[in-house]
């Protein structure tokens, strides 16, 4: 039986990605606080990591669990003020977070991702700052014998201390998988998941000797299995919750007696209340993407519909327009995010760049409460990081560099100015060369210019229009021209077509025969029959109930959120073009009017 389904793992991935992003951001804040940290912030990241580790434990994601445990250990020390989050400490933590993100990205195939280096660095950090009397606990192994003495658990003392510090009791659970699982019609997987719901499985072991070999007659009669469990439950509660007999649970006290008196005990009541209630957002991103695509299709249809002047339709039109308006307002709100919640990543990039280059440089964001579309913001991180790095490189001296990114919102635009905190740090007139970054910024419908004034020094100004028309689509190439096909209209992509599949029905109609299907094909440019026969890719589109194909140059289709630019006069007179946009490398892409294309054929 599939107990942990794909949806549960997807929820874990989604929540962990969000959580790691928050942890990363908060670590940078903690770093800037130096020796005078806000403990509630430290506790929040500690608890976030604790939740990630617990999830990994339940889902048996061993590498994520191991790495999050090590990060949690270090965070625990910061929480109890035994470790100052200086840049070296934060750097090691951030590297660990980066590796965690890779593990999450490749959650089903992360066996090749190595975490040894991070584990060593984090363990080193933990042991380096511990008081002499418990420093050895990181590498010291504690033997915990199983009651009958046949087996011994070998556990790093520090792991035990961490569990004890979290107020957990340590137990050995004694099971026989034949009597306790098989004869109760339970499966081993359900059984271990059930135990994990009651605490942290620190280790477990089978009595291999009792199980014997294939030749032995005793085979299958007993399967002793021992679990070392850390649980917040008291002995009686655990016996009752697990539904076992009292002799099956032994609480470990003597073997760990010397570990049970930590120097400082973290305030776990506060830790628990420091985090907000977790809201599950299953597929929220997917839902928003779907709504964006739906809205785009509705807008296209409404644009077309609005051209009719029939008075009898005016009320219907007005009602639909009001729905469209509310729908758009809702989506604008959903797509908006505080700028600082995304652009902090540039600060992280600059921090890493400075750390690797052994220079002192910092970016200060002054974005206030300005909100922007998250799709635009995510595409700004790369070019803005590159521009800020180029500005830092202009500074010749070893003076610490502080760059300020200031944002203001005006009536019709949002303006972003990047400048040196100290305008005199670059004394002679400097010029920044950023052709690639400029193309990426222009693709966002924004303009960029730089200026140098004696008083204010070098500054780069980027201006965004307040309202953007964003079309979620797929970028394809047809006869060497890029087109954005709205995502909602793309139903399929047929590849490896051969010339025999194309049929010329009459002078104007070309069809493609794919198995039982006959798909009418529209020439979006000047494609004629001979040209189409060389095409090996067909994008199958659907407009309303109509289905047709667009023959593309290659099977490469790229998902984009196209930010539309105003149409030039020449283009606006072309009824097949609805809008145009710039791609990241500066090429122009057209958004075809899918309704017009469908009409052309039907």
């Amino acid at each position: 039986m599939m107990l942990i389904d794909r949806e549960t793992i997807d929820i874990y991935i989604e929540e962990t990605i969000q959580s790691l992003s928050e942890v990363e951001k908060t670590l940078l804040i903690l770093e800037n606080m130096g020796g005078n940290i806000e403990l509630s912030l430290a506790r929040r990241v500690y608890h976030a990591m604790h939740i990630i580790r617990n999830g990994a434990n339940i889902l048996s994601l061993s590498k994520i669990k191991e790495l999050s445990q090590k990060i949690e250990n270090v965070l625990g020390l910061i929480c109890t003020e035994r470790l100052t989050p200086n840049p070296e400490v934060i750097n090691i933590l951030l590297q660990g977070i980066d590796r965690m993100q890779q593990l999450i990205d490749l959650i089903h195939s992360n066996e090749d991702i190595d975490i040894d280096e991070h584990s060593v660095l984090l363990t080193g950090l933990t042991s380096a700052v511990l008081p002499e009397e418990i420093k050895h606990s990181v590498t010291e192994i504690r033997d915990i014998p199983i009651p009958d003495g046949k087996y011994v658990f070998h556990i790093p003392e520090f792991n035990l201390i961490q569990e004890i510090e979290q107020g957990k009791n340590i137990y050995i659970l004694i099971y026989d998988l034949i009597k306790d699982v098989q004869e109760k019609n339970n499966t081993p997987l359900n059984f271990v998941r059930f135990i994990q719901q009651h605490g942290e499985v620190i280790d477990s072991v089978f009595d291999f000797k009792s199980i014997g070999t294939l030749e032995e007659q005793t085979f299958g009669s007993e399967m002793p299995y021992f679990v070392l469990l850390a649980s917040t439950l008291k002995y009686e509660q655990l016996v009752e919750s697990l539904g076992v007999k009292s002799h099956q649970i032994k609480q470990i006290k003597n073997a760990i007696a010397d570990l049970t008196h930590p120097k400082t005990e973290p305030d776990h009541q506060n830790l628990t209340s420091a985090i907000p209630v977790h809201h599950r957002k299953t597929g929220q991103k997917d839902r928003l993407e779907l709504l964006n695509a739906l809205s785009c299709e509705l807008n296209f249809a409404m644009d077309c519909f609005s051209n009719y002047s029939n008075n009898t339709l005016s009320i219907t039109k007005a009602r639909m327009q009001s729905v469209q308006k509310r729908f758009q307002e809702f989506l604008n709100h959903e797509n908006s995010i505080l700028v600082s919640n995304v652009l902090w990543k540039i600060g992280r990039n600059i921090r890493d760049f400075a750390y690797q280059s052994n220079i002192q440089a910092k970016l200060e964001l002054q974005c206030g409460q300005i909100m922007m579309d998250r799709r635009v913001l995510s595409r700004l991180i790369e070019p803005l990081t590159a521009i800020v790095m180029k500005m830092i490189r202009l500074v010749q001296s070893e003076t610490p560099v502080q760059i300020c990114l200031n944002m203001t919102k005006n009536a019709g635009s949002i303006e972003m100015v990047i400048s040196f905190f100290d305008p005199q740090i670059v004394t002679k007139k400097a010029y920044l060369d950023y052709p690639d970054e400029e193309k990426k910024i222009n693709a966002l419908c924004a303009t960029i210019k730089q200026s140098f004034e004696a008083q204010t020094g070098l500054s780069v100004t980027i201006r965004f229009p307040l309202h953007l028309r964003i079309i979620p689509g797929y970028c394809i190439s047809i006869d060497q021209q890029f087109y954005i096909i709205p995502r909602f209209n793309v139903k399929d992509c047929l590849i490896n077509l051969n010339p025999s599949m194309w049929r010329c029905e009459n002078d104007t109609t070309i069809t493609l025969h794919d198995n039982e299907r006959c798909i009418p094909v529209i020439g979006i440019s000047n494609s004629d029959f001979l040209q189409l026969k060389n095409k090996t890719t067909l994008i199958v589109c659907e407009v309303g109930k109509h289905c047709f194909g667009l023959a593309a140059d290659s099977p490469k289709i790229v998902e984009v959120d196209a930010i539309c630019q105003p149409l030039s006069k020449q283009l606006s007179s072309n009824p097949s073009i609805f809008a145009n946009c710039l791609l990241d490398k500066g090429q122009i892409a057209f958004v075809p009017d899918m309704g017009f294309l469908a009409n052309k054929l039907f």
Partner: protein, 95 residues
């Protein structure tokens, strides 16, 4: 030292284990195989008796200085073996 791959192709549960055990014995004891790969393609569930079969096979092979490898384990089975720390005794590869 000879190597062999065995593919049960069905869930490793109490009802099939006696026959499966017999096959394993033939391969290890009679044919002298010391490096055995158990291919779990098509296996969706392993019950407690099935787990015992893996451990007993490992024990038998260990006596002959042999080695057991479990290959193509499904996500659930891989996760079960890891949680039960069986990967510390023999190699388990996910499918």
């Amino acid at each position: 030292m000879s190597k062999k791959v065995i593919s049960p192709g069905q869930d490793i549960v109490a009802s099939m284990v006696p026959e499966f055990k017999k096959r394993l014995q033939e391969i290890i004891v009679e044919d002298g195989v010391t490096e055995l790969d158990i291919d779990l393609t098509g296996v969706e569930m392993v019950d407690s008796v099935g787990l015992g079969a893996f451990i007993a096979t490992h024990n038998t092979l260990s006596q002959k200085n042999g080695k057991l490898t479990v290959i193509n384990a499904s996500e659930d089975i891989y996760s079960l073996f890891k949680t039960m720390r069986l990967d510390q005794h023999f190699e388990i590869q996910q499918g």
